[in-house]
Amino acid sequence: MTAAFVLQGVSKHYPQFSLSDFSLTLPEGQIMGLVGVNGAGKSTLLRLLTGLAAPSSGDIEVLGHRLPEAQVAAKRKIGFAAEDMRLYRGQTLAWHIELVRRIYPEWDSAYAASLLRRFDLRADQSVGGFSHGQRVKALLLLCLARRPQLLLLDEPTTGLDPVARAEVLESLAEVLRDEHRSVLFSSHNTHDVEQLSDSISFMHQGRLLASADKERFLDEWRRVLCVGDVPDALDAWPELVQRRAAGSQIELKFRRWQDDLPERLAQVGLSVQRIDPMTLEDIFVTTVRAGGRQ
């Protein structure tokens, strides 16, 4: 299996913020959604993956290139767009397209033209007059039309209206056709990433809390409602992540769900009323609250 990127024990220390002991791999051809609240370190991670930032320790390899040493070679194959990235206000979109086209030999003019139409952007308009949504779509166009091997998108759907959001997600879905192209995109909410992502990573306060196949996340987590007296021993169960009283009922959230858990609950005197799968958002919030306890 070739990997789009491999991070091994990566740390990056800033005076106000630290990313610590981060290990994560994205297999080629996969889409990974990176979820974290604002300030979780998503942007720092993406900067490390583009070679813009050098890690304080650890190893980073992107598309087979060691970073930041081989950042030029890696960046030729990476499409990177960040929320805080701006284009030149005084220039037209066509001017930007021309600049990027001349830098990347893989630039696909026909694809660029079709994206222009789909995103409803005018190439002769100066970028200064673009709305937030238009700016995001313009940046995405500049990335997509060079057909990069790895797309790194920092909060591409944040602040978009529903129509623009759908357009952005649809254009990302197209990348799925090619099994050699990979995507990592971040968001502060799970809704934006869960539809398209093969795998999901949760990060919080500079640490990776969990990373797995999306389906595995959904399979492994369950919310159980039961009644009865909670035995003290329950809190020691490794599967139990959260316990909360909800009226006369007790709400339990389990990770690494096993089919024998209802039986075990019955054995300790709890009568199970309901077992529900959890939404990704619920899983994320529960994981963050539990502090990534494994």
């Binding site: 900067r47 050098a54 930041p68 990235m85 701006r86």
Partner: protein
């Protein structure tokens, strides 16, 4: 770092900086023509206005060149876009320095050339060329200092301080020249003689300017990554 520079992209980034500066450049050159017209009238009052206007323009070109390509890029967050392109910090530094020198030196040299032509072709004493060279030299040094500071320091306040400070120093500098009898006598004559103190100053200006650029190149280019 022994890696080869990515010249095609450096060239494109230089062209980009040149294009971004284009409109301002036209305005500066237009102002330059007006200033030179005053100088060319060879009347004391016109000479005073013309030289003042010329100095203001030179300072403006220097400040705008630094600000458009470095300060505005940082402030408007277009820097992130440039850094995402296939460039290393060294490529980026070379492109920035070269692009900036290009945008500054073109109007600067054009104005220097026309100033010399006007001094020689009008009744103005030809010796004034020495003064013109010293003034242009000072602006060049001030520009190099501002450029080096802008590449080194993110704070807008310090950048403004470096720009204004170095440019304003032209006043005491002119007073200093006024005190130098050997230079003063040359300025009124029609023969172009380069007195030793003037040559020493020009040499010092060249050294300081080059040192600033070399420091900016070394200090920014040796970084393994941007952040």
């Amino acid at each position: 770092m022994t890696r080869e520079l990515n010249w095609p992209v450096i060239r494109l980034l230089m062209i980009k900086d040149w294009q971004l500066f284009q409109k301002q450049l036209a305005a500066h050159l237009l102002g330059g023509i007006v200033a030179l017209a005053f100088l060319g009238m060879a009347k004391p009052w016109a000479f005073y206005i013309g030289s003042l206007l010329l100095i203001i323009l030179l300072v403006a070109v220097a400040c705008f060149a630094v600000s458009t390509s470095l300060l505005v890029e940082r402030k408007e967050q277009t820097l992130a876009f440039v850094m995402s392109l296939p460039v290393s910090p060294l490529d980026f530094t070379v492109a920035k320095l070269a692009g900036n020198l290009l945008t500054f030196l073109v109007p600067f040299l054009v104005m220097a050339l026309f100033t010399a032509i006007i001094i020689f072709s009008t009744p103005l004493p030809d010796g004034l060329v020495v003064l013109a060279a010293l003034v242009f030299g000072h602006v060049l040094v001030a520009y190099c200092i501002s450029l080096a500071v802008a590449m080194q320091v993110e704070s807008e306040g310090w950048n403004l301080f470096a720009m204004i400070g170095s440019m304003v120093l032209i006043n005491p500098f002119l007073m200093l020249i006024g005190q130098m009898d050997s230079v003063q006598s040359v300025l009124r004559g029609n023969a172009v003689i380069w007195p030793a103190p003037a040559l020493a100053i020009l040499g010092a200006q060249a050294l300081i300017g080059l040192a600033c650029l070399a420091f900016a190149l070394w200090s920014n280019g040796r970084k393994p990554a941007f952040y």
